[in-house]
Structures are given as structure tokens and as C-alpha cells.
Symmetry: none
Subunit: 145 residues, 2 copies
């Protein structure tokens, strides 16, 4: 199964193929696999054979190494993250966003300092927070992510 469908978005092959279509050397044709290999060889960085470029593009091989990913990304002028799963990256970013949402320094402080406490203590503090919310007339259950 060349095209791994467990990948949330497009496959690596699809992305690479898209790059070939999109970034072109001169009007008319796309980069040749050999050209890519040669260019990479010249930059002094990690080399990559033309055949392998083709295999990746065709989906015969997915799962290249870090260095090859860097080389390919560098050649086409995209960040290496381009080749990774977009959905996963977005999910992580959402988690990071949750963080930046907590602008309130006091809340951050509480989170940091609460980290490491015993489950029992955490539970007690949770209850206390809920109780205070109640007293201040804040909504009851707003389950976030």
C-alpha cells in the first residue's frame, strides 16, 4: 500500500508531487528528478538519488529520514513541516492556543504551581475552584477540549 491513508491529509507523495507541479525552474517544464538530485548534491548538504526522489513522489516509498526531509524542503523552499500531517499539527497548535488564551498571569501561576501536586490535593483544589465559581455566579459546566 504505497499511499498511506492513515495520513490525515494528503500523502507525502501527493505533497511532493504538488511541489513539482508548483515550483518550476523555467516556464515550460517541471524540475527533473535528476536536477533535484544534482542541485542537492551541489549545495554540499545531504545527497539524495534521483531514483529515490522518484520513489517518494510516486508513493513507492514514504517515510524518508530527517536529513532527506530537510534537503527536499530546502530545495523547494518550504518548511519541513510541510511534509507532516496537517491535522496533527493543527491539533497541537490548538493545544498551544489554549495556552496563550490563558493570558491571566494569576491563572498561569496557579497552573504552574499546581503541577506536581498529589491527585488528592488537586482534587481538593478543583472543588474549591468550583465552589468559588458558584459563589461568583459563573457558569457551571463548560467543558473545554
Amino acid at each position: 500500500m504505497p499511499n498511506d491513508s492513515t495520513e490525515a491529509g494528503r500523502t507525502l507523495a501527493a505533497k511532493l508531487d504538488h511541489l513539482f507541479h508548483t515550483v518550476r525552474p523555467r516556464h515550460g517544464g517541471e524540475y527533473t528528478h535528476e536536477e533535484v538530485a544534482a542541485a542537492l548534491r551541489d549545495t554540499g548538504g545531504p545527497t539524495i538519488s534521483a531514483t529515490y526522489v522518484w520513489q517518494l513522489r510516486k508513493g513507492l516509498r514514504d517515510n524518508p529520514t530527517k536529513r532527506h526531509l530537510e534537503a527536499l524542503a530546502g530545495f523547494f523552499g518550504v518548511p519541513p513541516a510541510y511534509f507532516f500531517d496537517e491535522a496533527a499539527a493543527e491539533r497541537i497548535d490548538a493545544e498551544l492556543k489554549l495556552l496563550s488564551a490563558l493570558r491571566d498571569a494569576s491563572v498561569r501561576q496557579i497552573a504552574l504551581r499546581a503541577s506536581g501536586l498529589s491527585p488528592k490535593s488537586l482534587n481538593a483544589i478543583t472543588e474549591m475552584v468550583e465552589r468559588v465559581r458558584e459563589l461568583e455566579g459563573l457558569p457551571d459546566a463548560t467543558k473545554g477540549a
Copy 2:
């Protein structure tokens, strides 16, 4: 050559090691290499041996494949770009401390629910947290990363 100096900033090993130091399961210590391997195994995704995790962390092996990079990034809750882009890595590091705290579901719950409370209440809760830390014999000041 284990430590690839073509890498813009820190080596992969350094970054991974940093993740181990930063994101911890709960108070006590860092994740064990075996724990990481087991967790990855449980998620159904690509597996990775504990020994190999160690090798990557030590710099005996750099240049893992795409899938393993994804798995590692997923486990530590950072985007795969963390291992590539140094600028992104630094940005993430800045927030990682808080992120790791929020990885604990209980702590996350507290943070989310504490958001919106009055300054007075937040202050009270902060003091309570500090008091509990004291009782549980946890360190006083936040230690540097």
C-alpha cells in the same frame, strides 16, 4: 558523527533531551525511555524501541524517519517542526513549561475553571496552592528550565 552540526541550532539530541527534562508525567521524575516506547505502542501508531529513544537522546543516532519523528513529537505534545525549525523550537520552549503542566488533566481542569474568577479569588486560590505545596514538601521557587 553523532552530533550533526549542519543543524542550525541545537542538535536533535539536545532538543529531545530538553523535552525529557521539561515535560514530565507527574511530580517525581522524567519519563523513562521504556515509558515513552510503551505509550507509543499503546496509541496504535508507529512503535519505537526504548533503546532507540535512548540512542536518539544521546546523539548516538540522529536522522530518524518521518514516522518516528511524528510519533516522538506527538508523545511530547509538540509539532514535528520542533525538531526542524530552531525558531519554532524556541517559541515552543517558551510555552512548554506551562504546556507540560497542562498535560496533567487535573491541572488543566483547574486552569480552565480558574479562568474568569475575580482577582481576589484567584489570589486566595494561589495562596492555597502554595500552602499545599509546602505541606507536600515541594520546592518553593520555580526552577529554571
